[in-house]
Amino acid sequence: MSVTVFHYVFLAMLLFSIGAYGLLSARNAVRMLMSIELMLNAANINLVAFSSYLGSLNGQAFAAFTIAIAAAEAGVGLAILLALYRNFRTVNLREIKELRW
């Protein structure tokens, strides 16, 4: 019983599912953004695991890019969140419903 890539992939999928659930169930925008980070991390686990098991470095490079992008995304997302909060005084996305017909 040794650790195979399957273990990692399954862990990644689990993490991804939890993230997706979080995104769907959260009301707080901060929690939503965190759930997205979880999902991106799941992808990274996949990439690095495959990279290691396939003996190719491309996956690690990909993961490095993903990390950088995730950070940038988080930065922009939180900035939008701040701007949103200044306007609405709440970050509960279910309460923010200006745009309905």
């Binding site: 650790v3 690690q60 993961a63 890019f65 701040l82």
Partner: protein, 174 residues
């Protein structure tokens, strides 16, 4: 001696399981924690766990990057956001499961994943990518394979900075 030798993979597995448990616990914490602040800390735990996974996969460079960027940077940003938007004071997860059906669906998907990905077992043993630090660096930084995306990521960070700064700026009265 041979008997002990068989133990090594088991240790590997144990290490993996412990780290996975941390990762998952953190993730569940993110989703379930009643207070946002705790959720962010749980996120940090999960991310550090992922970094540890990277180390078990021989990707130390990535692990370091992961810690530096995520745990040191992104998580702090999240903490900031929590504080600045008073998330914790106004919004807590209500007790009781409001999205049980979604949970059920997610569970079904997980089961599907499990079945689907079990084929990967055949991918075999972990390869050792020796000296991966330099190699990854070369792959990314040298004008090699990923030079173009690297430059683009630079611009992407710039764009994110430009965007984030102007959005986060407080509007002073004109």
């Amino acid at each position: 001696m041979r008997a002990i030798r068989g133990v090594v993979p088991v240790i590997d597995l144990l290490v993996f399981l412990v780290i996975s448990a941390l990762v998952i616990a953190g993730a569940v914490g993110v989703v379930m924690a009643e207070r946002i602040f705790h959720a962010v800390l749980a996120l940090a735990l999960s991310l550090l766990g992922v970094a540890a996974l990277f180390i078990t996969l021989g990707a130390e460079f990535l692990a370091a990057i992961q810690v530096l960027v995520y745990a040191g940077g992104v998580v702090v940003l999240f903490l900031f956001a929590t504080m600045l938007t008073r998330s914790d004071l106004q919004l807590r997860r209500p007790k009781g499961d409001e999205l049980a059906p979604v949970g059920a669906v997610v569970f079904a998907i997980i089961a599907l994943f499990y079945v689907a990905s079990s084929g990967f077992v055949s991918l075999g043993e972990r390869g050792s990518v020796a000296g991966s630090v330099e190699n990854v660096g070369k792959l990314i930084f040298d004008l090699g394979t990923y030079a173009v995306p690297f430059e683009l990521v630079g611009l992407l960070l710039l764009a994110a900075m430009v965007g984030a700064i102007f959005l986060a700026k407080k509007e002073e009265a004109r």
